[in-house]
């Protein structure tokens, strides 16, 4: 690796940039395997190897980027020269000149630190895990029309070097087990899913109980067949930690990404220091949680990551920053610029986003809202950060009547407005669980994240069902 670093440094040293200019090179090499079993049939075993080099250049205040799948040294030079050419082209129509934060640089080598490297696990073992999980889902009921289990893992190595002196080599690992069931009766079809993802090694897969989780997935899919149609209208909602994870990610997290703030496409622009929600609510994004799906040590610009407090007791106190946006907002970078792979430009992304714990028990939250719905297990969501309008979906839940859980309800989506939701949060539960290990899409790039919190009670959420 020393040779690779020396090569990247030599290429960077060879370019002449104007004062205020900046350039970086990132060499990424990742290998992953995947196993997919559906309805008892092993449908796919796959191996992926992606490698290449990416260059960025800031010339006259405009950005250029170039990537190539050829990772030889001469390709790094070609990529950098191309990025400079791209930046010069961009400068012909640019507005305000971009700058980068220049006060820090990092020199560090972070080797893979996991108990069991998943690359050392034989394929047969991975197939066995998927097979057991899938069988346990399927065996619950004959009305499980389709059951799927997948096991995936990957090891990635990034080498990042820039003209500020940063030289970072970083290895990371990812494992995921996911399963889903589609239940069917007559014309009604319901689907549920469950996943575990971790930046720990294979030991995280060994901790995953395929029997217990498989039966849970199958049971939930079966039970939804006798659940009531979801309601429609504005109502109080109590969410479980999985739903809180996607809710806070969509409703709030994306709007707190400083690239949206700088671009003028976030409703949170200009609101730092303002009260935007109930005093009970604090929101964090923390990529330093050991083993969590959204954790990483250095971002794709070579900045060491840090825990970020976004909302503290209802006050907006911070954003997620890159080198550029930290400079623009006179703040400090907090390692939030992530690139999906070598061919992707680093953009600001969340990591593990959650609501801080409160003190109320679930029963107290139900009693607080009296009437409404208790919704569980997320399907995902999306947000329009410009208008602050978001959607998120639940796999199922229960009606709440007179402060108690009542009949089960089917899957349903909800929507709300970013600047309204935090002030309508009326109760924060005890404890905190990261319970939504998913992937987040932005700008065509998908990166692993996690989300969660305690149970949460929110008033006036629009529920898009078809009942009542």
């Amino acid at each position: 690796m020393a040779k690779v670093v020396a090569n990247l440094s030599r290429v960077l040293d060879s370019v002449r940039l104007d004062p205020g200019g900046f350039a970086d090179l990132r060499l990424t090499d990742s290998q992953s395997t995947s196993v997919l079993i559906r309805n008892g049939v092993l449908e796919q075993t796959g191996h992926t190897h992606t490698c290449g080099v990416a260059a960025r250049a800031l010339v006259n205040g405009a950005w250029g980027f170039y990537s190539t799948s050829d990772s030889a040294t001469e390709s790094a030079r070609f990529a950098l020269e191309s990025a400079i050419k791209m930046a010069r082209a961009a400068s012909r129509g640019m507005g305000e000149k971009a700058e980068v934060f220049r006060e820090w640089s990092f020199m560090e080598n972070v080797p893979l630190r996991v108990g069991i490297n998943p690359r050392e696990i034989p394929l047969e073992e991975k197939i066995k895990v998927a097979d057991e999980f899938e069988k346990n889902i399927r065996k619950v009921d004959v009305r499980i029309a389709s059951s799927t289990a997948a096991v995936g893992d990957g090891v990635r190595r990034d080498t990042i070097s820039n003209t500020l002196g940063t030289i970072v080599e970083c290895e990371s690992c990812f494992v995921r087990v996911s399963g889903s069931a589609i239940s069917k009766e007559g014309t009604l079809t319901q689907q549920v899913s469950e996943s575990m993802a971790s930046t720990d090694g294979w030991e995280a897969v060994e901790r995953f109980d395929t029997t217990e989780k498989g039966v849970q997935v199958g049971t939930r899919a079966r039970d939804l067949l006798s659940a009531s149609p979801p309601p429609s209208g504005k109502m109080s909602v109590v969410m479980d930690p999985s739903l809180v994870g996607v809710y806070i990610h969509e409703a709030f997290g994306h709007a707190a990404e400083a690239d949206a703030v700088k671009a003028g496409t976030s409703v949170l622009a200009g609101k730092l220091g303002q009260v935007i929600g109930s005093r009970e609510v604090s929101v964090y994004d923390d990529p330093t949680i050991p083993g969590a799906a959204g954790s990483f040590t250095f971002d794709s610009e070579g900045t060491r990551t840090a825990r970020r407090t976004i909302v503290e007791n209802g006050v907006l106190v911070g954003y997620l920053y890159s080198l550029e946006t930290a400079s623009w907002l006179k703040s400090k970078p907090n390692g939030a610029a992530r690139a999906m792979d070598f061919s992707s430009i680093p953009i600001i992304r969340m990591s593990n986003t959650f609501v801080g714990a409160g003190e109320m028990k679930l029963e107290e939250l139900l009693e607080l809202v009296k009437e409404g719905v208790y919704l569980t297990k997320s399907y995902g969501g999306y947000v329009d950060t410009v208008r602050g309008q978001f959607l998120f979906s639940a796999q199922g839940g229960n009606a709440i009547r007179d402060g108690k859980l009542a009949e089960s309800i089917q899957n349903v989506s909800m929507s709300g407005m970013t600047l309204e939701v935090l002030e309508k949060t009326v109760g924060v539960g005890e404890g905190m669980e990261l319970a939504f290990p998913g992937t987040c899409g932005k700008g065509g790039q998908w990166v692993p994240v996690n989300g969660g919190g305690p149970n949460l009670a929110v008033r006036d959420i629009v529920v898009g069902g078809r009942g009542r």
């Binding site: 049939v41 796959g46 250029g64 003028g264």
Partner: protein
């Protein structure tokens, strides 16, 4: 590397595929397939009504599916120099040997006569570099930026790609394609009020790229979006603009008519072939042979010749769409719909250019004849994660009262089922929107549940 001439971009990927198949067979594969893509792309980002960045890239991708008996291994790589190709093929075979037989697999497809599809490649686009693209985008930005209260964002890009497929049964196909896209959005701030609107295009030829038009449309939509409000919850009719109709019917019918979902038993149209699945007004076909269509091509992702496939005719389900795997399993004709957006995964059926039949009303009539409704534009409505429930947010819409468009709506959702949705379509427009082969009218759906924040 980008230094390679684009004109021979295709030939070298075809050589790569043929070599990979031969190596796989030499190493013990009973059947093998290789797909390779080599492409170059440029994109430009617009932020606060100015150019923010310009990006480019080139990449080669190789994906090898190797079968040992009925067991499959798939290996993907972006490293194709030196011995990397042989290593990749070796990994695919090694995975197949460690894998288990798939009883549903019969064989990879064989070649057939390939249709001729015109207009997929534009040499002028190949010669366009970042400065030229930026000039075009700036014309659109300047059209949209009508006053200081308007902010323009979005961008554009172009791509050129050669894709080759070879397999053990003699398939040996090479296709080249180009594309250019643009997307501009406007944000208008008036005190606390905010109006947002956007427009886009995706075409095969430089001559079809019109950034001024999308800049102008984005501005008009943002102006109309000002003053958006929540509405009363209740039962409404919905009128879908052409884009929303296209996305929505492609999503709902696309899931139900997908032969893979039928094979799994999860399709809500599983037992409905040749039966009514919705209103008579619905006719939908898939046309991958459309001249210069954005999803057109001579063969699917496995090398099976493309064909036009009627899927719904006057409300009756006419056909499922399939790839070789599902066609063999279901004992139906392979319609040539293998799709592979990502070469890391094996193919599965996917639609190309969906074309929805016209009605006989005008779009104005659809609105005029609606007493209480919502006109939905630039949105998509679809079933939730493979279920029969629809629970979607209206991204952009207007309240309709007594046949007239009132104000823009926000924080508003609709809830229904796929069956009720298809059954309750009662009007379609005679005007069709043709977006590079995706063709659709506007449609009205009677009675869906609307929930909003008022």
């Amino acid at each position: 590397m980008g230094g390679e001439g684009e004109t021979n971009m295709g030939a070298s990927v075809l050589d790569l595929c043929e070599m990979s198949v031969k190596v796989a067979e030499r190493l013990g594969a009973t059947e093998a397939e290789a797909v390779a893509r080599r492409g170059r792309q440029i994109s430009v980002e617009v932020e606060r009504s100015a150019i923010k960045s310009s990006s480019g890239g080139d990449a080669t991708q190789l994906s090898v599916r190797a079968y040992v008996g009925k067991a499959m291994g798939l290996a993907f790589t972006t490293a194709v120099e030196g011995r990397e190709v042989e290593r990749t093929v070796g990994r695919a075979i090694s995975l197949a040997r460690s894998s288990q037989p798939d009883p549903n697999f019969e064989s990879l497809p064989s070649p057939g006569p390939y249709p001729r599809v015109e207009g997929l490649y534009d040499a002028k686009l190949v010669n366009l570099e970042a400065p030229g693209l930026i000039d075009m985008i700036l014309e659109g930005v300047s059209t949209a930026k009508s006053s200081p209260r308007v902010d323009v964002f979005g961008g554009g890009g172009l791509s050129m790609e050669g894709e080759a497929i070879a397999n053990s049964h003699g398939i040996r196909v090479l296709e080249r394609g180009t594309g250019i896209f643009g997307e501009l959005a406007c944000k208008i701030s008036e005190g606390d009020d905010l109006g947002v609107g956007g427009d886009y295009f995706a075409v095969r030829h430089l001559s079809g790229a019109d950034f001024r038009k999308i800049g102008s449309e984005a501005l008009a939509k943002a102006e109309k979006n000002l003053g958006s409000r929540k509405v009363e919850s209740g039962d409404y009719s919905i009128v879908l603009d052409q884009r929303t109709t296209s996305r929505t019917l492609s999503s709902i019918i696309g899931f139900g008519a997908d032969a893979y979902n039928v094979m799994l038993g999860t399709s809500y149209f599983k037992d409905r072939l040749n039966q009514a699945i919705g209103a008579e007004l619905i006719s939908l076909r898939d046309d991958p042979l459309y001249r210069a269509g954005i999803a057109s091509g001579i063969c699917d992702a496995e090398g099976t010749p493309r064909q036009v496939t009627p899927i719904v005719e006057r409300g009756v389900l006419a056909s499922f769409y399939s790839d070789s795997y599902t066609a063999n399993r279901l004992r139906v004709k392979n319609t040539g719909h293998a799709s592979r957006p990502d070469l890391r995964s094996k193919p599965s059926p996917g639609l190309t250019n969906t074309q929805i039949g016209a009605g006989d009303a005008s779009t104005e009539e659809l609105i005029r004849e609606t007493r209480k409704g919502i006109y939905i534009y630039d949105s998509g409505i679809g079933p939730m994660a493979g279920t029969t429930n629809i629970s979607s947010m209206i991204d952009y819409g207007f309240l309709i009262e007594k046949g007239e468009l009132k104000h823009s709506v926000k924080n508003t959702m609709i809830g229904t089922t796929v069956f009720d949705f298809l059954k309750n379509i009662d009007m379609a427009s005679k005007e069709l929107l043709d977006e590079s082969g995706r063709i659709s009218p506007s449609m009205r759906v009677l009675i869906v549940k609307v929930a909003s924040g008022l």
